[in-house]
C-alpha cells in the first residue's frame, strides 16, 4: 500500500524548490516591478531547505516503491548543492547587475537544477538517475549560454550541449544494457544479483563501462573532458562556480551509489579502469593548467585535476566509510572552489579582468580580497593547515590502506606540481608591482555588500572545514 505522507516527505525538498521556481517565473512574466525580489525568494527557499534537511537527518525516508531514498548520503550531497546555490544566488545579484543580464529566469533555472540534483542523489533507480541528470543538464546548458550577447558564452554553451547530449545517449545505452543483464533498473535489485551467466556478465560489463563513460563526461575525467575548459571559460563566472561545485558532486554521488555501494564486487570489478582514469585525469589536468593565462581556464583544468584526486578516493573506496571520505572531499572542494570563483566574479567588472596578469598587485588595491583569494588557492593546492590538505589526506589514506600505493604516490607528486600554478597567482598578487595595483584602481570597482557577504560566508565555511572539521566529518561519515 502506498503511504502518502512518506511518499511526499521523500520528495518534499524538490517540491519546495520547484514551487519557488514557478513563483519566480510567474513574477518574471507578469509583475516585472517585483523582479528584484526573485533572488530573495530563491534565497529563502534554499536557506530554509538547508535547515529542514539538517532537521530530518537520520530519518531515511523512502518513496515510490523505493525508487527514491532520502538517506543520510543523499542529505549530505543535497547540503552541498544547497550551500553552493545559496552562495551563488548571493553573488549573482551583484554580478548580473554589473553585466546587465536579465535576472528572473536565472534563479528559476538554478532552483530547478538544484531540485534535479537532489533527485539524482536520492534516486535508487537508474531511470530516475537518467531523467534527473538530463533535467539539471538542460538547465545548465541554458545557464552557460545565459548571456546571449556574449559570443564566448554561447560558444561554450553549444559545445557543452552537444557533448552533454552525446554523453546522455551513452549513459542511457549503458543503463539499458545493465537492465538487460539483470532484469531490473532498481539499484537495490542490482546489489542482490549473483550467479550470472557468461552472456549476462558481458552485458553487465559493457553496460557498467558505458555508464562510467556517460558520467565521466559530467565529472570531466580525461578522455571526456574536452568541453570543460570551454564551458567554464564561456559561462558567466557565478555559473562556472556552480558547475564546478554542484555538477561534479551530483555526478560523483551517482558514481558512488552505483559503483561503490550497489554494484556487487564479486560479479564485476572496474577498479583497474578507475585506476587508469584517475592517473590520466590528474596528470593531464595539472600539466595543461601550468600553461594557462586565463584564470577561469586555469581553474577549469584544476577542477579536472581535482576530479582525478576524487577518483583516487573512488578506487580506494570499498564501503560506506570510504564513501563518506569522498563526500567530505566533495564539500571541501565545493566550498574552496566556489570561494575562488566568487572573488573572481566580484572583481570581474568590464570585459576583461580574467588574465592572471591582471591580478598583479591586487594586495595593494584590495587587501581583503587578495587575502581571501590566497586562502582559497592555498586550500585548492592542498597545503597542510587547510581543509584541502585534510580532505586529500583522508582520501589518499583510504587508497593506501587498500594497497594502491603507486596510485597515491603519483597523486601526491601531482599535488606538488599543482602548487606551482596556484602559488603563481598568489605571488602575482602580493609580490608584484605596487604601481600596477594602483593603476588598476582607475576603473573604481563597484562595491557590493551582498557579494562581499557571499565571499565572507565561503571564507568562514572553509575555515571551519579546516580547523573545526569534526561537525562536517560526523555528517559525512554518518551513513
Amino acid at each position: 500500500m502506498l503511504d502518502f505522507t512518506q511518499l511526499n516527505a521523500s520528495i518534499l525538498p524538490e517540491i519546495i524548490l520547484v514551487l519557488a521556481a514557478i513563483v519566480i517565473l510567474l513574477i518574471e512574466g507578469f509583475q516585472k516591478k517585483l523582479n528584484k525580489y526573485c533572488s530573495l525568494i530563491a534565497l529563502i527557499a534554499v536557506v530554509g531547505l538547508i535547515y529542514y534537511l539538517i532537521s530530518i537527518w537520520n530519518s531515511n525516508l523512502k518513496g515510490f516503491y523505493a525508487g527514491v531514498v532520502l538517506d543520510n548520503f543523499a542529505l549530505f550531497a543535497s547540503l552541498i548543492y544547497l550551500l553552493s546555490a545559496a552562495l551563488i544566488i548571493l553573488s549573482a545579484v551583484h554580478f548580473l547587475d554589473i553585466k546587465k543580464i536579465e535576472s528572473g529566469e536565472f534563479y528559476a533555472l538554478l532552483l530547478i537544477a538544484v531540485a534535479a540534483m537532489i533527485f539524482i542523489s536520492s534516486a535508487n533507480d537508474m531511470i530516475t538517475i537518467f531523467i534527473s541528470l538530463e533535467i539539471f543538464s538542460i538547465c545548465l546548458y541554458v545557464l552557460v549560454g545565459y548571456d546571449r550577447n556574449s559570443v564566448r558564452g554561447v560558444e561554450g554553451a553549444i559545445k557543452y550541449f552537444i557533448l552533454g547530449a552525446f554523453s546522455a545517449g551513452i549513459l542511457l545505452y549503458g543503463i539499458v544494457l545493465i537492465y538487460g543483464a539483470v532484469g531490473s533498473t532498481n539499484l537495490e535489485a542490482l546489489s542482490k544479483i549473483q550467479g550470472l551467466e557468461m552472456s549476462q556478465k558481458i552485458l553487465l560489463y559493457f553496460g557498467a563501462g558505458l555508464v562510467l563513460v556517460g558520467l565521466g563526461f559530467k565529472i570531466s575525467l580525461v578522455p571526456f573532458h574536452m568541453w570543460t575548459p570551454d564551458a567554464y571559460e564561456g559561462a558567466p563566472t557565478v555559473i562556472t562556480a556552480f558547475m564546478a561545485a554542484a555538477t561534479k558532486t551530483a555526478a560523483f554521488s551517482v558514481l558512488i551509489r552505483i559503483f561503490v555501494i550497489n554494484l556487487p564486487s564479486h560479479e564485476i570489478s572496474l577498479e583497474w579502469i578507475l585506476w587508469i582514469l584517475a592517473i590520466v585525469t590528474m596528470t593531464v589536468g595539472n600539466f595543461i593548467a601550468l600553461s594557462q593565462e586565463n584564470i577561469k581556464r586555469m581553474l577549469a583544468y584544476s577542477s579536472i585535476a581535482h576530479a582525478g584526486y576524487i577518483t583516487v578516493g573512488l578506487v580506494g573506496a570499498s564501503g560506506n566509510r570510504e564513501a563518506g571520505n569522498v563526500m567530505y572531499y566533495l564539500i571541501v572542494y565545493a566550498m574552496m572552489n566556489i570561494g575562488a570563483f566568487l572573488v573572481i566574479a566580484h572583481l570581474e567588472r568590464g570585459k576583461d579582468f580574467l588574465s592572471a596578469l591582471h591580478y598583479k598587485g591586487l594586495a595593494y588595491k584590495n587587501t581583503f580580497l587578495a587575502l581571501a583569494l590566497s586562502w582559497f588557492l592555498l586550500c585548492l593546492a592542498g597545503l597542510p593547515p587547510t581543509s584541502g590538505f585534510l580532505a586529500k589526506y583522508y582520501v589518499f589514506l583510504a587508497a593506501v590502506e587498500k594497497g594502491y600505493t603507486i596510485l597515491v604516490i603519483i597523486a601526491v607528486l601531482n599535488s606538488a606540481l599543482a602548487a606551482y600554478y596556484y602559488l603563481r597567482i598568489i605571488v602575482f598578487m602580493w609580490m608584484h608591482g605596487k604601481e600596477e595595483g594602483k593603476a588598476l584602481v582607475k576603473g573604481e570597482e563597484t562595491w557590493s555588500l551582498i557579494s562581499m557577504t557571499a565571499i565572507v560566508i565561503a571564507l568562514l565555511l572553509t575555515l571551519q572545514l579546516s580547523f573545526m572539521p569534526s561537525r562536517f566529518l560526523q555528517l559525512a561519515l554518518s551513513f
Binding site: I127, I162, G169, Y179
Partner: protein, 99 residues
C-alpha cells in the same frame, strides 16, 4: 531467438550514431546522430523489456522520448543564437575559446 536480431539492429544504429558524431561537423547533423543513439537505446529497451516480461519498459521508452524532445528544444534554441553570432553551424570553426 529472433529477439537477438532486434538487439543487433539496435547496436548497429547506436554505432552509426556514434561514428556520425565523430566524423560530422554540422551541429544539426550532430544532434541527429545523438537522436539515433537515444532511439537505439529505446529499441534495446523494448527488446529487454520483452525478454524479462516487464511492461514498464514501454513506459520508460516514452519518458526517454520526452527527455529527448526537451533536449532538442533547448539545443535548437541554442543553435539559433549561435547562428546569429557566427552565420554558420560548423562546430570546428568556432574558435573564440582557445587556450
Amino acid at each position: 531467438m529472433e529477439l537477438y536480431y532486434y538487439l543487433i539492429v539496435s547496436l548497429i544504429v547506436f554505432i552509426i550514431g556514434m561514428i556520425g558524431f565523430f566524423i560530422r561537423r554540422n551541429l544539426i547533423t550532430l544532434l541527429m546522430c545523438v537522436e539515433l543513439m537515444l532511439n537505439a537505446a529505446n529499441l534495446a529497451l523494448m527488446v529487454f523489456g520483452t525478454k524479462w516480461g516487464w511492461i514498464e519498459a514501454q513506459a520508460i521508452v516514452l519518458l526517454v522520448m520526452t527527455v529527448a524532445a526537451a533536449e532538442v528544444a533547448v539545443g535548437l534554441a541554442l543553435m539559433i543564437v549561435v547562428y546569429k553570432h557566427y552565420s554558420h553551424l560548423f562546430i570546428d570553426q568556432m574558435t573564440k575559446l582557445k587556450g
